[in-house]
Structures are given as C-alpha cells and as structure tokens.
Amino acid sequence: MTAILRLSEVVKTFPGVRALDGVHLEVREGEVHCLLGQNGAGKSTLIKVLAGVHHADAGEILWQGEPFAPASPQAAMRAGIATIHQELDLVDDLSVAENVFLGHEPSRFGFTRRHGAAARTRTILTELGHPEIPPGRLTRDLPAAGKQIVSMARALSHDARLIVMDEPSAVLAHDEVANLFRIIRELTANGIAVVYISHRLAEIREIGDRVTVLKDGRTTAAGLPARTPTRELVGRMTGRAFEYVFPPREAKAGAAPLLEVCDLSRAGEFAGVSLTVRPGEIVGIAGLVGSGRSELLETIFGARVADRGTVTLDGRRITGVGQAVAHGMGMAPEERKSQALLLDEPVFKNMTLASFTGFARAGFTAAGRERAAARRTADNLELRPRDVDRPVRTLSGGNQQKVVVGRWLLGHTRLLLLDEPTRGVDVGARAELYQVVHDLAADGVGVLLVSSEVPEVLGLADRVLVMREGRLIHEAPAGELDEDTVLDLVMAGSLMEGEAA
C-alpha cells in the first residue's frame, strides 16, 4: 500500500502556543489511521492544517506524492480531502440537504437544484443508514447525533480520497458508533483513507489499522499497529497506563435523601420521573441519545419549568436556577460552548461564574481571591495550560470541560448534576475527572450523572437508573448490572415488566 499523505516536521503556532511542534504522519490508501493524544495535544490543529483552515508555519506536506499547502478549505476539498470537524460546522437555518451541499450546491445558472440536492442527500443518508432524516428539514431541528450524521453526509458528498473525522463518535450512542464503523469499512474497501480521532481506545482497537500518537504537538509514536496494548498507547500519550480508571469506592450512602424528585413531567420530553440522590451518593442515568436525560437534568436544576411534579433539595422546593444555585445545586450542562462558557473571558472568571458573588464584598468583586481559588481548582483538575488568565476559547475541548466542572468545585455545591461530563475528554483527564467526582462524593456531595458511555455509568455510579423514551424504566445498584444488560434495557426496554413504552 502506498502512502497517500505524508507530513514531516509540521509546525503551527498560535500567539503564545506552539500547537504543532514537529508532527510526522503517514497515511496509506484504504487504511483507517487513528490519531491519539490528550486534550490539547494538537489533533484538531493538525487536521485543520490539512483542511486548509490553518496554514502550517513550517514543515512539509506531501499529498499523493506532491507538495501540498491548501490555501483554503475549498482547495483542500478540491484536492480530495474532506473533513468532519470537531465543532459541528453546520448552519442551523439551512436544511439538511443545503448543509450537505453548502459551497458546492448542484445548480444551474446560480439557481439551486433543490430536488437534485434532496435526492442525492437522501441517497447519501441512506448509505449512512439514516433514511429517516428528511433532507428538507432545518438542521436546527435535529438532535446532536443527527447533526453529526449530516456532517458525515457532507464529507461523503465530496469525491474524497481522504476523509478526516475529528471525534465523530463523541456525540453518538452505542449503536450509532457501530453504524459509523460499518460506513468506514465500506469507504476503506473502496480505497479511501480515513483519519480517525477519538478518545475511546476501544473504538480505535476495533476500527483502526494504525495509530499515530501526539503529545504536546509532537509525534511520539507513528504508525503503530492498532492492536498495540492499551498500556503502551496510554503511556505514549500521558505516561499513565489505563484507560478507564475508576477509583475504588465503598458505598456509604444511607443518610436522608438530599435530592427528591417526585413525578416530574414535561410534555413531549419526559414523564413521571421520580428519583432520589443521597449525600455522598453517585447516581447514574443511562439512556439513548434523545431519551430526554438532558431535559430532565435541566428541569431538576430549575432551568426548565416542569409541567407537573416537584423537586426538593434538603426539603426545600426548587423552582428556579437562581434558587437552585443558592441552595447548593450545580450543573455542568451538555453543550459546554453554548451553555456554559464565556469563551472570551479568562479561565478564572469562567470558573467563578456561579460563585463570584460569594467572593465579593459589598458588591465589589475580589479578583485576587477568585484567581487564587481558581488556581487551586485548576491544579486539582490538572488543567493544561495551568494559566487561569488565558481566555477559555484557546483551551482544548477537554480542558474547557474541566473549567465547567471546576466551576462547581468552587462554591458550596452539595448536589452536582453532570451531563455527559467526559464528552471529548481525553483518557488522562477523564481519570482525573473521575477522581474529582469521587472526592466530591467522599465529601458528602450528591452527584447525578448522565452519560452515554455505559462503562462510565457503571464504573462511576453507586446506583444506575435507565431512561427510555422519557421514562425511568429500571433502577439497580451499579454492582448488579453489566454493560450488556444496560444496553438491552436502553435499546429495547427488555427487562421491563409491562413493556409500556
């Protein structure tokens, strides 16, 4: 097999950051080449250089044997490189078909040929296993997973020789990932090369042919076989040795419930949800994408108004976010960029967003104390870079997530709601986050966790609730469940007594 793409000594610098510092990469025709690396290692930057978004400061890129320096995204696409970017790059107010063909619309004299575009979109979506997504619908109506499929359809709509996928599985549920792998196999069977980025090592072992590992903008291992033992891969990335590291826990709940949710309902989203969380307990909610878990958390937090039912924290009714926060509830929402972060503000102000009033005296903020507290939290979370004055925008995705979680470590949080806390978070940071959650629980904080990664729910939680189509259908201590059981419940509700849903 010949190398279709070869990078050597590629350097890319942003003001104050050397994001790529001598990267080597060689991708062969028809292979799935995985890129591994911690948050901020430079993976996204690397593929943006390939996609013509950034221009390398130095180094050499050979594409199909020729020197290659795409001046624009269009140039890269014309050369045969299609990219699915990490941040969803869709226009919400265009239809699915319009997004798929944005920039290369089928047209005659400038008039769009909508039926042609719709038909071709439908074909591509069907190939992708999603004939149910209507090409004419506005993209804003799709759930995150649907948007990811549209991004993928867009990449396939080009006649690409190389498709780069930056964490495509981060927002996908279990069965979706299997579907994605089927598509990747079909692509590679046709000689198309795929560069695949993911923080989940199991996926890489399953789909990857070879692996290149980045650390701090440098290639630390190039072209390893995908079956390389986890220990070695993780070691190359971080110096650690394990993927999921769940700290040992002795269940010690038993006090009176901290959070009591009673018969909570919101029309069209979820209904009749009752649950409790005790101090020091970690309760996990498993479920499919779109099963209404995010809405449930937001409603408990008071950010959405319930149609029916009550939420009480320590016996006090919660009816609004302000009150929830005041009484010690915190939430790390699902979409960190749009729901949690002030991207242009420094890290420390983001961390203290919910607690700066507490630091303040008589309405005057205390930036010094805030900064010091934020630094301590940044150390706890091993934030990289550990600079709390840097705008959050310049942090990698995983580190941004740490900032969001860190926000609730600063206040006097007694109940923490976590929605997909490790989405896009690297192996090392993930372990650190798990440790943080455990430490919190050990301090008596109750945690309600939503995650699409079943091992995470099982490994982290004391007690697991399974949610399906807006209802809780099962509850059991984590120890009594295994991955397959949970997946069965999530998909089919097969352990359900009445099969009501």
């Binding site: 269009q74 790059d89 944005l102 047209s107 909508r114 759930p143 649907g146 867009r154 499919l288």
Partner: protein, 339 residues
Amino acid sequence: MIAETALPKAPKYDDNLLRNLGLVGVLLVLVVIGIVTRPELYSDPSWVRDNILTILQQASAIGVVTVGMTFVIIGGGIDLSVGAIIALAGVWSTTLATQSYGAGGMIFTALVVGVAVGLVNGVLIAYGKLVPFIATLAMLVSARGLAAQISGKQTQVSANETINSLATAKPLGIPLLVWILALVVGAGWVLLNRTTFGRRTVAVGGNPEAARLAGINVKRHTVLLYVLSGLCCGIGAIMLTSQATSAQAAMANLYELDAIAAAIIGGTLLSGGRGTIVGALFGVLVFSTITNLFAINNLATEVQNMVKGGIIVAAVLLQQFRYRSFTNLLRRRNVGNNS
C-alpha cells in the same frame, strides 16, 4: 438510529409563515381601526382602492431598500448608509450634466453610484475588517457630505419628463413604482430562497466559520451583499427622485432606521442567519399603513409619534403571542397527556 422520538415531528407549520400571518393580522387590525374611525371614507370602494395603491406606492422606495437591507442583515451585517446612498445617487443623477444624458443616463448613474458605494462599504468591511456598523456609519456621513457638495446644498429639480412620469405611470391601473416594488421583492425572494447566492447568504450570516469551512469565500460574498444593498438604493433613488421630481442631499433621511426596523419586524434576526423577504415587505407595509391611518385621522404629529411607538410594540407582541400560542397548541396536541 435517530429514533423518531429524537426527531421532532415534521413541522406542519412554518415559523416564517406564522410570523407573516401575525403581520397580516396586524395589518388587518390597522385597517379595521381605519374603517371604524373613518367609515365615510371606507364606504367608498374607489377611495379604498386608491388608498391601497397609495399605501403601496408610498412603501415602494423604502420597500426596495429594505430588500437589500434584509440580505445584508441575514448575511450578518448592517447597512446604516442606505439613506445616504440614496441621497448621493439621487443628487448625482440629477446634476445638470447627468440630466443632459436623458433618462437612461440618469438611471445608469444612480445604479452605478449605488453599486460603487456598496462596493466601498463591502471592501471596508470584508477586507478592511471594519465593524459594519462603523464602516457604514462613516459612509453615511461621507456620502451625505459628498451629496451636499455636489448639489451645492440645493434641491436639484429633475427636468426629465421620463423620470418624473415614473411616479405617475399606472400600467394596468397599478402604479409603476408598485410594479417595481413587486419585481424587486419577487427577485429578492428567488435570490434568497432559490439560488446558491441566497443559501450562502444564510450560511455566511448564520455561521461564518462553517461557511468558510465549506469553502465559501466569505469575504467576497460579504462584498456582494453590500453591493446588492447599494444597487437597491440606486433603484430607490430613482423612485424617490421621480416621486419628488427632485433630489437633494437630505433626502431619504433616516431610511436606514426604517429599513432595519421593517426587516426585523418581518422576522429577520439582527444577528444574522435568518430572515425573510416577504416578512420584510410586510414590515414596510405595516409602517406605511400606520402612516396612512394617521393621515386619514389627521392625528397631530406628536400624538402620532406617541401612538406609533405603542403600535410597533403591540404589533410585535401580537405577532409573538400568536406565534407562541399557536405552537403551544400544536405541541399539546402532538404530545397527548402523560400520566
């Protein structure tokens, strides 16, 4: 599988349609107020017909400008210089020198001036990286200054009968200016909804980064948007000049505010990425119907103004209310009751 549950039901209703229905409702309410307050006028069908045509004719120039403005706003910008462009194009096309070239020369001049000023706006914004607000505000000031300079601050009378007759011609019984408005609105609708240019406008305004990643030349497109707005102003300048049979540096005063307000009332998002041409037209019609209502009731200007603010607020609230209650209704119906 994106479960059917995860995909919201296919909309049986359309955001934009509902909004526009809301605006039609507002228009109807205004007409009803007219009928109630001046029944004797409204009892005469030929007066009613004339009145409708008058409203449309009064809306024509600002309507054309609003179409261009809507494109600019959807594309993520704003154009504060539209009134000034009209003044400059109007004045330039009515200088004695230009008038000596006849109607063709005057129209050509107005359009070229509009396009040229739009081009300067676009280049300053796209390549000079100026904030649109500042760039077009600077253009507002400069273009009005230049117009004053060219006209020597005099009102320049158009001696060209062809130009002047544009405002009086009534092919098929409908004023020519209204035909022009209809044409521009129609063309704008097709351009926005049926061409790659329109789709790219939405992309550039809604998510410039995504547009760039999709290979769209965002800068060039931005320039084109301001050129389009300038072109609409050129057309508007000819329309206004023919109506006033003259042009001057102070003409089309504050058109920018009216055009922006009409676009927004019509459902265009000031932050870009969303908007409709038909909504903008309704926005313009609401304003021009309000003016008409005041005129037939002969309200004092200060009362007019006090009431006008209230009507605008009420119109938008009404529109929102209709919209919300309607979607709530649909939602309830789709969901059924959970127990």
